[in-house]
């Protein structure tokens, strides 16, 4: 008898949950890290993915319905914010199709720069929110440049005595900035409602979403968004104490905001890309001193709130695998990019964390369906042994051959059955 959508939804959820809890599911789940593949597969231009919400929604739905993965990745992981909103805000931190990168390439790309200057740690530590509003946002978004004219936010602690400052805050330039932003609200609502109703529609079809929100290690917040990679590297040598202090300061804030958004989505799996902690980016000693202490506290803190961190070990993490044995058992998903890493991780972390990934994106892009099946077989035989494995590509799937993606999904469903 045909299963109802509701039964399928429950079955897929259970399959994934069993794998995460290190039990043996009915078969190896497959939850592909779809990114701009949605657009490419459905024939959208990169610009349409960012600017035409209805087409983008159509592309996502078509891909998921055609490929039938156990879980799909929320499209807000690829188009993080809609193009018109980025235009209105005049976002300076990324380039997106037609805006700094070619309109023909499926990507957005981060601009690595010092958004916080080296001598601004004290201002940040003194009052992060004031720093964000008056210094950081004016640099990040052209439209918010006038915010730097505001008096210190904490001056409002003076109550009615400084009521006149409200008049100063309502400067023409600042009012204009918010008027410009009001157009962003309309875009946000239109885009958000397309994305939300798509999620509901897929749910009615029995297709659950893998993850809907993101969090990052405090060191990555500093390195990616505040100081830039070069900046944070200099700080490790020139002002190590300030760097550690800033990471400690960010930790509880990051916990609070992650729990807030995860609860709002209702999805327990939160994406944590461990960007700068990778082998290439710092020494084992630097990892232990600057990166891991606050990253680990974040992970544990989230687990205590009932969240399942989906840890993405980007590029190469071989030298850090042993440290990951400090993670609590059956509470995280460890996603590996390199096949070598995931095979070794099975031996070291196999009874601690559910493993995901291991299919090289290069193979999905350049190989044949038979190559993909061969590699799937190896992954299922070894990493899938005894449960605790979810099939996926190593990293976000944008430029892959559809027949290879299909081979990965269909072969896993067929060969990945546990007897």
């Amino acid at each position: 008898m045909e299963k109802s959508a509701e039964e399928l939804y429950k079955e897929r959820n259970k399959r994934v949950e069993d794998a995460i809890r290190l039990q043996v599911p009915d078969r190896v789940p497959v939850a592909p890290f779809f990114s701009f593949f949605y657009a490419k597969y459905a024939g959208l231009t990169p610009e349409e993915a960012f600017y035409d919400y209805e087409k983008w929604r159509y592309a996502v739905k078509k891909t998921i319905v055609d490929f039938q993965p156990d879980m799909y990745l929320d499209p807000r992981f690829s188009v993080i914010s809609p193009g018109p909103l980025l235009d209105i805000a005049d976002c300076k931190q990324i380039k997106w199709p037609g805006h700094g990168v070619s309109p023909n390439h499926y990507s957005f790309q981060h601009i690595d720069a010092e958004y916080m200057k080296e001598d601004e740690y004290d201002a940040f530590l003194f009052d992060p929110s004031d720093y964000v509003v008056r210094t950081y946002l004016p640099r990040l978004y052209g439209v918010l440049e006038p915010l730097k004219m505001l008096p210190p936010l904490h001056s409002m602690l003076h109550g009615y005595v400084v009521a006149y400052q409200l008049g100063a805050a309502a400067k023409r330039q600042i009012v204009d900035a918010f008027e410009a932003l009001s157009r962003a609200n309309a875009e946000y609502l239109r885009w958000g409602s397309e994305m939300n109703s798509l999620g509901e529609e897929l749910k009615r079809m029995g297709l659950p979403s893998w993850s809907e929100s993101i969090s990052q290690a405090p060191f990555d917040i500093i390195g990616d968004f505040l100081r830039g990679f070069r900046g944070v590297v200099m700080d490790m040598y020139r002002r190590p104490d300030k760097l550690i202090e800033a990471a400690e300061k960010i930790l509880p804030m990051q916990l609070q905001r992650t729990v807030f958004f995860a609860k709002r989505t209702g999805n327990p799996r939160v994406y944590i890309p461990l960007d700068l902690g990778s082998d290439g980016f710092m020494s084992p000693q630097q990892f232990k001193t600057f990166y891991w202490p606050t990253a680990k506290k974040l992970i544990i803190g989230l687990i205590n709130e009932g969240i399942t961190p989906w840890l993405h070990f980007e590029v190469n993490y071989s030298s850090r695998l042993e440290i990951m044995t400090e993670l609590p058992k059956g509470k995280t998903i460890c996603h590996f990019e390199r096949p070598d890493d995931i095979f070794r991780a099975k031996e070291i972390l196999g009874d601690i964390a559910c493993l995901k990934g291991g299919m090289p994106n290069s193979l999905l892009c350049t190989g044949t369906p038979d190559d993909v099946k061969d590699h799937c077989k190896k992954l299922i035989d070894f990493v899938g042994k005894g449960g605790g494995f979810i099939m996926d590509a190593g990293a976000a799937i944008s430029e892959a051959k559809p027949e290879n993606v299909k081979a990965m999904i269909d072969f896993t469903k067929e060969y990945g059955v546990y007897s």
Binding site: S102, S283, V315, P360
Partner: protein, 210 residues
């Protein structure tokens, strides 16, 4: 004296380095000898990186200190030293990709190993590679890229080099986060590099070094 500078710079002791450089200039030492010692120290940094003792942050920091030395010493230079290079290398991040950390590390390692490196920057159009190869006739070309979209750009660049009749004159190596043997075959490059060290050994092979 010169031992001190070599030691301080190779150990990444920024304050000591700047103090020693200033002292030597105050003692009317020839600025060029300061640069030569610094070069020796940077070679040690490169060797320590190759040996797994130093990591990328160490390279970036050493380059930063080196830049500070050059800024102090350059205006006082009476004569320029002549550097002997063992080969020429053209490098760039391919069209559509703006990532440059990996490319910069490879450039650094090639330079401390004696290569003259022409860095074309990021999001480099195919034609720009071709023109540079014609202009400087390098033995090796390095194509860098982090995203999967770089695969096609790399392949297009190799094709354009071929179409310009230059393919036999250069060896091409590719590298970046998601680059492996699958991509090497796809792009028709001569080699791929997992890291900066393998790029250096390949380049040395190409110019007939060890």
């Amino acid at each position: 004296m010169s031992e001190d500078l070599v030691k301080a710079l190779s150990n990444l002791q920024e304050k000591d380095v700047l103090r020693i450089v200033q002292e030597r200039l105050n003692n009317s030492e020839e600025p060029l000898s300061i640069l030569e010692d610094s070069k020796t120290a940077m070679e040690i940094v490169g060797k320590r990186f190759a040996g797994g003792e130093y990591f990328i942050p160490d390279l970036i920091f050493s380059a930063e200190i080196m830049k500070a030395i050059t800024d102090i010493v350059k205006p006082k230079l009476m004569r320029l030293g002549v550097t002997q290079h063992i080969g020429k290398f053209v490098i760039g991040t391919v069209a559509g990709d703006i990532h440059d950390i990996g490319k910069n590390i490879v450039t650094f390692m090639l330079e401390v190993n004696g290569f003259e490196v022409y860095d074309l920057g990021i999001d480099v159009p195919v034609q720009k590679f071709v023109e540079k190869i014609k202009e400087v006739t390098p033995q090796v070309v390095g194509l860098s890229g982090f995203l999967t979209l770089a695969y096609d750009s790399m392949r297009d660049t190799v094709k354009a080099i071929e179409a310009a009749g230059l393919r036999d004159r250069v060896k091409i190596i590719i590298g970046g986060g998601q680059i492996d043997e699958n991509v090497r075959k796809y792009t028709n490059a001569d080699a791929y590099g997992e890291d900066a060290i393998s790029a250096v050994s390949f380049a040395k092979e190409c110019v007939g070094g060890k």
